[in-house]
Symmetry: C2
Subunit: 175 residues, 2 copies
């Protein structure tokens, strides 16, 4: 009995991305109630040398798109980093969700020991076995940028909590 590589990746990204669409709704509602432009969130950062909110969102969308793509052995489309509005951020998340539906489960599942090559920064390429790549690289990177995007909104006063971040956890029931 074991976990499939598909089930350890794509459904987790789908849960989080869908949850993040609802977080964007709450952030926009907060801006409306306080009468400021929601695009003000896009440039906010936790430190002056960290990525701003918009780039945190672009990055976790790319982690979710490119990680499973590389496991499946296919080239993911490149989504240009040019979002400047909340509508465009939603579109980025939605396009990522739509793309995840196109991936072949069996191709992903077959990648546990297959070598995956991936860029890290503009000048470096690395390789890892698929299972390690998911567990030790894709998931920690994805959750890092997702949580930091959440933390930026939370520090900005948006009324969100852990449940908003977790989203619809599948198969959870009162015990």
């Amino acid at each position: 009995m074991s976990l499939s590589l598909y089930h350890s990746s794509v459904p987790a990204f789908e849960r989080c991305l869908a949850a993040f669409l609802a977080i964007l709704d709450k952030a926009e509602a907060h801006a409306k109630a306080r009468k400021f432009d929601p695009t003000n969130y896009l440039g906010m950062r936790l430190a002056p040398d960290m990525f701003p909110f918009v780039r945190q969102v672009q990055t976790f969308c790319d982690n979710a798109k490119n990680g499973p793509s590389r496991l499946a052995g296919v080239s993911a489309p490149v989504f240009e980093d040019k979002e400047a509005t909340f509508a465009e951020l939603r579109e980025r998340v939605t396009r990522t969700l739509d793309y995840l539906k196109t991936l072949d489960r069996q191709a992903i599942d077959a990648a546990v020991e297959r070598e995956v090559v991936f860029p890290a920064g503009p000048n470096n390429k690395f390789k890892m076995q698929g299972g390690n790549y998911l567990v030790h690289y894709v998931l920690p990177n994805f959750y890092f940028h997702l949580t930091t995007a959440y933390d930026i909104l939370r520090a900005a006063g948006v009324e969100i909590g852990k449940r908003d971040y977790l989203g619809a956890v599948p198969g959870i029931e009162p015990a």
Copy 2:
């Protein structure tokens, strides 16, 4: 070919906890260089109604201890939440690492479809299948609190980056 539940959990927690010990060293060095008491970090928060740094650390340590324990079907020891110094934070992380070494891999691996019962808050208990529990509950919670602890230090000026967060990624090589 698939991932084992053990390999999807314990080695990831071990990598992150070991990396966090080095992050604590950098935070302490930063305090020393700036001549402030490193225990000042413990009460820092990104928002007034978020957990402070010390509780973020306690929580991700507990996620790492209790998640795999429940998968293995054993009761984890309770670590009292009373850390007040950096030495005590290191001890919390180290005790968690030591405890993870005691868990039975085969018992964890056997839990993919087994029902796991876990508390959520003081009054609620939930149940999930082990595989879903790891992928959709334990991992997102662990990375949430770990990243937020990192973000608190980063916003406080500690010179850390993504590599400090990721730690020693196993099997990664230049391609």
